[in-house]
Symmetry: D2
């Protein structure tokens, strides 16, 4: 009953893994490894449910018996990749990117297209920590943001470690962390 | 691996169970029984994640090892009841009612307040079958709708049987049922 | 500059007018008259932007030089009827019904299909007053709700008078009514 | 009737102007000038409705008799700045950023925080042209995107000229441009 226990626990971390579809180079392998590590750590993985990085992270997490939620842009649950264990068909199109960010404690961005960039930006705007693995760099007037708002990781192991640490710190800091309805 | 198998299966039915918080009279007992029966049938239960009928159906489904998704109106996952196995914190308020309806194959309405009525209406508007157990009756100009767009059930067993039947018929009738991306 | 003045005023009433597309019998004529009266009163009319009652109310309001906002379900502004003065293309499908309700001070339901019913229900759930003109009647266990949560009107004039009265009362009762950021 | 004519016309351009609140340096003056020019060109201005760049563009557009729509994150219309001529209170929080992008033909980003970055990203993802005035620069692996997906402008005049040009080209290219329901 161990896995079910953690699945029911309202305090287990929820981590979004964002990235492009299709994905190239190391991104799918990195994402799959991230998925495995997150599942092993008892985290719920949230993703956009499509292919590329989203499919790779889902495959990794599902292979370790983890929970992988796909928050889909379309209105048909079947549009999601085959590894998802829970499918939410939103019909919201790209608005669903904000939902992915909203329900998690931290975001891991693996590589990334413009959809990923929107998720990174929404997370930074709303105070959700972002860990990046070969992802976007942000600058204005020719100068990189300093300090960098994205925590950079060099490996899947580093990305998962940082995401879980930041998710834990954020949860502890929330004033209502000891109470709540649920 | 039996339960995990059905959880991964994109074709297992998703059934929303809607009802008021707080709930009175028979509604909590009915909802809990509905939750048990849906979990036993391998369906994913979707609800609004709060108390009353939503908590009762979650308790029933979770006690049988089922998957219960709470699509919460607020932005904090912890606001959901303790029986949920997956929590989506939307921050959408009552707009989340439409998301609940959108991701399922059928809706079971148990008793009901105005939130439930909105879910029933959105389901009927978008062609999602609705099964009612002691729920709203609709009329215009003093005459009940004929035929009644809500399939009435007298017991939890009847409600679940009808919902699964209607969900199956709907899935089979969708033109894309044999293909799809996922 | 009189009309522009009221358009800029954050405190002018916003009234949603909801109803079916297509509409039959008296509904289009009633809706058009409601639109004229609301525009004459300086209210901003909000509707779903399509045909039937939505087109009739837009025509009435636009003919009197009023502002008519269409909150459209699709992602293309051009799907709205020709009388709208402002078009918001949401791409949200029926989720947009909740947005219509959220931004107004009162709802007038003229006749009605299931979409209208969802708007009535969401308004009642969130405390937005609802005035009905030949619209839905709600009952449970064979008994009509008592008191009726919908304020019934017999004529367009009565519907507009009640909606403006209820909108005004609601605005005055809001604790922040004298301050606010804007 | 000139201004009303263009307001009713479904084909007048809708341009979003995005930027931070608070705004510093040249951003407010630039935004106000952008607002004036857009109103003079008969465009409908869409913004997030708050302060900073959003307030400055609204002031500029309203001073020229233009239409300025504020799509607000909160559920109270009065949270918008005083220059808005139409207020949509969404209660969606940062999800409303995607609505701003969805309803327009082009986006002008003036300076920018993370909210602006999310709007730029969502526009680029969904094919809505983006014109930048002292806004974000995007790079990966230490190299700026080439070609730059953001059309850079050096002045408010240049930004408005490019946005109107791109909006017009986009509208003409849409296959349904000659038909449509509205």
């Amino acid at each position: 009953m161990g896995p079910r226990r953690s699945m029911r626990d309202a305090d287990c971390p929820y981590i979004a893994v964002c990235g492009p579809d299709p994905a190239s180079e190391d991104a799918p392998a990195h994402a799959e490894h991230v998925g495995r590590l997150l599942a092993d750590a008892g985290a719920v993985v949230v993703c956009g449910g499509h292919g590329g990085v989203m499919e790779a992270v889902a495959r990794g997490a599902a292979d370790r018996g983890g929970t992988v939620v796909g928050i889909l842009p379309g209105a048909d649950r079947r549009e999601g990749n085959e590894h998802l264990t829970v499918r939410i068909a939103t019909g919201l199109g790209e608005l669903r990117n904000a939902l992915i960010v909203r329900t998690v404690d931290a975001v891991i961005a693996v590589s990334g297209g413009f959809g990923t960039l929107s998720e990174v930006a929404l997370a930074l705007k709303t105070g959700v920590p972002v860990v990046g693995l070969d992802t976007w760099e942000l600058s204005k007037a020719g100068r990189a943001l300093d300090p960098d708002p994205i925590v950079r990781a060099a490996t899947p192991e580093g990305a998962v470690r940082e995401a879980l640490r930041l998710a834990g710190a954020r949860t502890r800091d929330r004033p209502e962390a000891t109470g709540g309805r649920g």
